[in-house]
């Protein structure tokens, strides 16, 4: 029985805990990534992070199982945008602009009739029994639950955007902002992205060596096509009659924005000479103050002489200072304290599908700025990267090959030099431990490993091996002094080398808005793990091997 020193025990314990951090579960099922807050699923208590084990007593092991069940329970749930013209009433573009009634009073009887249904829904609701790890949920619904799910991650290692795909925008306010102003900006932007329906997003502040503050927006997975608009638009929405402002975007003036159901949607599409054209509309509720403003402003306006159904002036909608839509105001709205207003707009495209999608996007963007309000200053996107997930996967695979080649190459050269399998194994195991513990720490602090971070880990492995060579050579040569003293002198070299790496890498934490922070971080973690844990243990292993 070999007696192990406490340094070795420490290494073993840390390795085991690293394994627990990296591979915490072998559970089967799918994990809920997000839940729409206005859905039955949410009302019934389904939440992000829950693990679905089975649906209608069919067990779910992965994403494919889930889609299969959803497709069999709701076979007709595919919405095809190109089929929309079959359900909606066709209207001629010219007549539709003329007839557009935009502001209508909260007249419950008329409300339902002014809206056309864009989608026919089945009447009968289906029962869904969803079993999660701890409990059971019953859903009566006619559509798949509004949740997004993903496979349970086998490891806790998170890869960065350049390896997993996604989008990253570094945004700089055009004026110099303080930390607290930046915080507000981040809140508004997060709200905006959430209101737009982008769930897997991180928005945070970064600053650089010259004291500039930036906002960094990172979206994992597929890139939303409107990211640029969403994060860079100031989103200053104003509704004006003449040059008087009736209401602006944001919760102070707008208390509710309809986004689902019959009060919101695309209601007509038309062919025009350049392509297709689709119109959207949705209802918003105004605060009392804005309703009063509306009343006093409209009170002053006369009836339009050529078009006596409407008032003489229009309600002009401006987005970031640009007129986006002019809406006619019905004559019965004169002087009334209207709290519900219908907003409309359109989208164009070369074909019907494009026009439909553009209209839908414009609607979502408009709804988003109406909900979140405007930013107090203009923004500039100084960096925008969108990385294809499939290319990232290719990179990730090649990096794993590379790591294996490095391991193999270093093992061979060590064996050639020392000709001892035990010593070679000890070096390799130490090198592996360092990389492994570094990965675990990265997972623990939820660091996303991008390509520079992994370069840092591999480079860290290189310095680790260097240090071990120093220990080995000190141990086997210079027989004049005792082993302990020689190892001590080896540690002087190692300690200095450690401090040097830290000194060299520290400035990278701030330079360039922290874009290369990962490289510095993993290197520093790697060498710190080396100096604190693995190197002392390795020295003990060498002592044990040399005593034999």
């Amino acid at each position: 029985m070999i007696k192990l020193s406490w340094k070795l025990w420490l290494l073993i314990i840390i390795l085991l805990s690293s394994a627990l951090i990296l591979f915490p579960n072998f559970e089967k099922g799918v994990v809920i990534k997000s839940v729409d807050q206005n859905s039955t699923a949410y009302e019934e208590g389904l939440r992000t992070g829950m693990i679905i084990k089975s649906i209608n007593s069919e067990s779910i092991n992965n994403f494919e199982d889930y889609t299969k069940i959803m497709n069999s329970v709701f076979p007709s749930e595919k919405i095809n945008p190109s089929s929309i013209n079959k359900i909606i009433q066709k209207t001629d573009l010219n007549s539709s602009t003329q007839n557009k009634i935009s502001s209508n009073p909260v007249n419950n009887s008329s409300k339902n009739t002014t809206f056309q249904k864009t989608k026919e829904l089945p009447k009968n609701k289906t029962k869904l029994i969803i079993n999660t790890k701890d409990s059971e949920f019953l859903l009566y619904t006619n559509e798949p639950p509004k949740i997004t799910i993903e496979n349970i991650q086998k490891t806790k290692i998170k890869t960065g955007l350049d390896l997993s795909g996604g989008a990253r925008a570094l945004v700089k306010p055009e004026v110099r902002v303080s930390q607290s102003e930046l915080k507000d900006l981040i809140t508004i932007t997060s709200n905006r992205l959430n209101a737009f329906g982008i769930s897997d997003v991180s928005v945070r502040s970064v600053s650089d060596l010259s004291g500039n503050n930036f906002m960094l927006v990172e979206v994992a997975g597929a890139t939303p096509s409107d990211l640029k608009e969403l994060v860079s638009k100031q989103g200053k929405f104003e509704a004006k009659i003449g040059n008087e402002t009736v209401f602006v975007g944001g919760e102070q003036d707008i208390t509710y924005v309809a986004r689902t159901g019959e009060q919101s949607g695309i209601y007509s599409c038309d062919t025009v000479s350049q392509g297709e054209y689709c119109n959207f509309r949705f209802v918003i509720s105004l605060s009392e103050a804005s309703a009063k403003r509306h009343a006093s402003i409209t009170n002053k306006i006369g009836i339009n002489s050529t078009n006596p159904q409407y008032l003489d002036k229009q309600l002009d909608l401006y987005l970031d200072g640009k007129l986006v839509e002019s809406l006619y105001i019905g004559k019965d709205l004169k002087g009334s304290e209207t709290t519900q207003i219908m907003i409309s707009g359109s989208g164009q495209g070369a074909n019907r599908e494009d026009a439909y999608n553009n209209a839908l996007n414009n609607m979502k963007q408009l709804q988003t700025v109406l909900i979140t309000g405007s930013l107090p200053y203009k923004l500039e996107i100084v960096k925008l990267d969108t990385i294809s997930p499939s290319l990232g996967k290719e990179f990730a695979r090649n990096i794993i090959y590379l790591a294996l080649i490095v391991f193999l190459g270093v093992s061979i050269i060590l064996f050639i030099k020392y000709q001892k399998i035990k010593i070679t194994l000890a070096v390799i195991l130490t090198m592996f431990s360092e990389a492994f513990i570094t990965l675990a720490i990265a997972a623990l602090i939820k660091w996303n490993l991008d390509a520079p971070s992994i370069a840092g880990i591999i480079a860290g492995m290189g310095t680790g091996v260097n240090d071990q060579i120093v220990i080995l050579d000190e141990s086997v040569s210079n027989r004049e002094t005792n082993l302990k003293e020689r190892i001590k002198s080896a540690f002087f070299v190692i300690m200095t080398a450690f401090l040097l790496i830290i000194a060299a890498m520290i400035p990278l934490f701030w330079a360039g808005a922290g874009m290369l922070k990962g490289f510095a971080l993993t290197t520093i973690i790697g060498v710190s793990v080396g100096i604190l844990v693995t190197r002392p243990a390795f020295a003990d292993i060498v002592r044990m091997i040399l005593k034999d």
Binding site: S210, V382, L384, L402, V465, D473, A503, A504
Partner: protein, 301 residues
């Protein structure tokens, strides 16, 4: 018998070294002077000490996946984007063309329609990647990374002085670190390689990574135990050159074996590899000669 001949050989080796260590110093000095002269010339020609890639000068990098004819695409849109440069990304394992990398100072929105028109399909996040860096950001990136490099160098110098607490040996180490940066930079400029933000961070790492052999050499040479001075220097050389060799084995595959890696990644390893080669010269020719000279003067045997 065997031992005796070895001792004799090493003795002659030692004598040779005693005779020529100052002469040896001229080799790195010549390389260093050439490098600095080239950098000065390069600066006068280009107005900067390096060629900067898109991440440091501003513009777009577009990666289009698939096997696409790079010459055809170049002739099709080069007239619109004169500064366009195109590279192919191939998987050396299979020899298959992975993607095309295009770089231009234009914005993605400007070049995307032209590319889509040529290719005949839409570029989405499924088949392509777009990386855009605005000119204002890239300029501050570059400035800050150079400042970071300087800070890094100063911090390194402090650590070296603190560790050895003697002037000449510390200065020798710092000079070696300086040469480890200058020589690869001159070579990269000479080869016309554009440096990325990740590339500059590799130079930072080089500062920390390459000097450990100098530390080993200096600490062994100044320590009075374990053989005479030459034996200690030769011993350090044996250990240190092997360290550099393993480090090279760790960093070289990234550049030579697999090409299907992110550019940032490959450039980090390429610069580290050049730095490690330079370090062989700067540690064992420059630093060793200086420390030998110093020890001889100080009568450290």
């Amino acid at each position: 018998m065997n031992n005796q001949t070895e001792e004799k050989k090493s003795l002659t080796k030692s004598e040779l070294y005693d005779k020529h260590y100052k002469t040896i110093l001229t080799i790195p000095v010549i390389i260093m002077v050439l490098s600095l002269a080239y950098l000065a010339y390069f600066y006068s020609q280009n107005g900067d000490i390096m060629l900067k890639d898109i991440s440091l000068s501003g513009g777009s990098t577009i990666t289009i996946q698939g096997d696409i004819d790079s010459n055809a695409i170049e002739s099709a849109i080069k007239s619109q984007f004169p500064d366009l440069s195109i590279r192919k990304l191939t998987d050396i394992g299979t020899g298959k063309s992975l993607a095309l990398i295009l770089e231009t100072s234009a914005q993605p929105d400007e070049i995307k329609p032209a590319l889509e028109k040529y290719l005949g399909y839409k570029l989405t996040d499924e088949n392509s990647s777009f990386e855009f860096t605005g000119p204002s950001l890239s300029e501050s990136f570059y400035k800050q990374l150079l400042i970071a490099l300087l800070i890094s160098f100063i911090l390194m110098s402090i650590v070296v002085f603190f560790s050895f607490k003697t002037f000449i040996p510390s200065l020798a180490v710092i000079f070696a670190a300086f040469s480890d940066i200058v020589m690869p930079l001159a070579l990269i400029d000479f080869l016309g390689i554009k440096i990325s933000a990740a590339g500059i961070s590799a130079f930072l790492m080089l500062i920390g990574y390459s000097v450990d052999t100098d530390i080993l050499l200096t600490s062994r040479a100044l320590r009075k135990k374990g053989g005479n001075l030459n034996q200690r220097i030769f011993g350090a050389f044996k250990t240190g050159s092997f360290m550099t060799l393993t480090a090279l084995i760790a960093v070289l595959p990234a550049f030579f074996i697999i090409s299907g890696l992110p550019d940032s990644f490959r450039q980090i390893f390429f610069i580290l590899a050049l730095g490690l080669f330079a370090d062989l010269i700067n540690t064992w020719l420059t630093n060793a000669s200086i420390i030998k000279w110093y020890c001889v003067k100080r009568r450290i045997e």
